[in-house]
Symmetry: C2
Subunit: 242 residues, 2 copies
């Protein structure tokens, strides 16, 4: 059977890949991804051919991978973070219906909620929600409804894609929704360039987060009512009596 | 500075550890964990001393680790899955206030939402919530409120600790809450023994999940209104037009 792997490579550093991802990619003839991620990992897999498509060409990328695999080449599509969480696994599986001789296997990776969480300490140690603010594929109404629900449920929230050049002001709008339900002093954080050069972490109140200038390399955390700062770490306690 | 690492080892298989976790644990003098996880990894780290405490002795485990690190021994606390998500990172950081000469570093790992998600395909490719049904440390009222909020927000939901001997019937109660908001035909799944021998996956409707006998090795997924089954995989599409 022809194999196509969808592989989460984690935040970008070699060390944050799983051993399974490393082994799978070492065995591949061709590795396909978004241009930026291909450049991140190219040096570790010198025997593979690399193909890439730019951002917004996700469908073309997945079809390219399915075509390569259908020819009998051992192929991987790489995603930053996890293969599933806002990754390519869903689209590959949807398009894979047209390629019955290609067997698809998903290899998970460390998504930004986890790698950013580790940098911050333990912001997601209790129940949490993950929400993307990108309205390229989702209506803003749906996003707003999810922000509201996450606030009402008092989840710790991890926000992906908080901002981009075309979506300036989205994080502020998200904070305004949260502020209807949550205290302005709620412990929040922003992490930038996780697993790459120039990593930054900022612990902020929800009021301060509203004014924070996030970019597309930022992951944002909004605490639950229990979240607190301890010695420069962000911790959402599970509830053990100390 | 004395170092204490809190390390997520992933679902239990060697391959699903990150290279960072492997390197950190290889450099440790002492590795501390819940008895079952210690037995899973002992064979990979032959140079380390292993210490363990049973379930419900989490506080004792963290203090043991802080004490070891404070003596100058390079120490790791291991957690299944991620170090943060329902892991020990929060408790170690809280208790760490009493050990100013111990520097704590959190190393993330593949949590069951991701490893189970990969087995199933792509159930969490869009916004999702993670909820534990364990009421050992959380009131059932809070859990119920979060289930309700996750349903109202139409999140895909990953449920940890769906059941145990003492908490029989909790998954059924959770499904009953979901059924107030979601269709009985909603695509759901249960995954058992992820990353271990005897791995199982079951794709079910929400009505069927209500009758499913989960145990403490099961992770449950409840789809959003968009989640569908494709060739034996569970996919929550991100919304690309095909």
């Amino acid at each position: 059977m022809n194999k196509l792997y969808v592989v989460g490579i984690g935040p970008g550093s070699f060390e944050d890949m799983t051993i399974r991802a490393l082994n799978v990619l070492n065995g591949c003839d061709v590795i396909i991804g978004y241009t930026v991620y291909v450049e991140l990992v190219r040096k570790y897999f010198k025997d593979a051919e690399f193909l890439s498509t730019p951002m917004r060409k996700e469908k073309e990328r997945c079809i390219m991978a399915l075509e390569q695999a259908a020819k009998g080449r051992r192929t991987a599509v790489i995603c930053s973070g996890d293969a599933g969480v806002y990754g390519m696994a869903g689209l590959v599986l949807e398009l894979g219906k047209g390629y019955p001789n290609v067997e698809i296997e998903v290899v998970s990776g460390i998504t930004a909620a986890l790698s950013g969480g580790a940098l911050l300490g333990a912001p997601l140690t209790h129940d949490f929600a993950v929400i993307s603010l990108s309205d390229l594929l989702t209506s803003w109404e749906t996003i707003e409804n999810r922000l509201k629900a996450a606030a009402e449920g008092d989840f710790a929230v991890c926000i992906y894609n908080p901002s981009s050049k075309k979506r300036e002001g989205y994080l502020k709008k998200a904070c305004d929704i949260m502020l209807k339900y949550k205290d302005g002093s709620t412990v929040c954080a922003a992490v930038r360039n996780i697993g790459r050069e120039g990593v930054e972490k900022h612990i902020l109140t929800l009021n301060e987060l509203r004014e924070y200038k996030a970019d597309m390399f930022t992951t944002v955390f909004i605490g639950s009512s229990e979240t607190k700062e301890i010695n420069g770490f962000v911790v959402t306690p599970r509830g053990y009596s100390l």
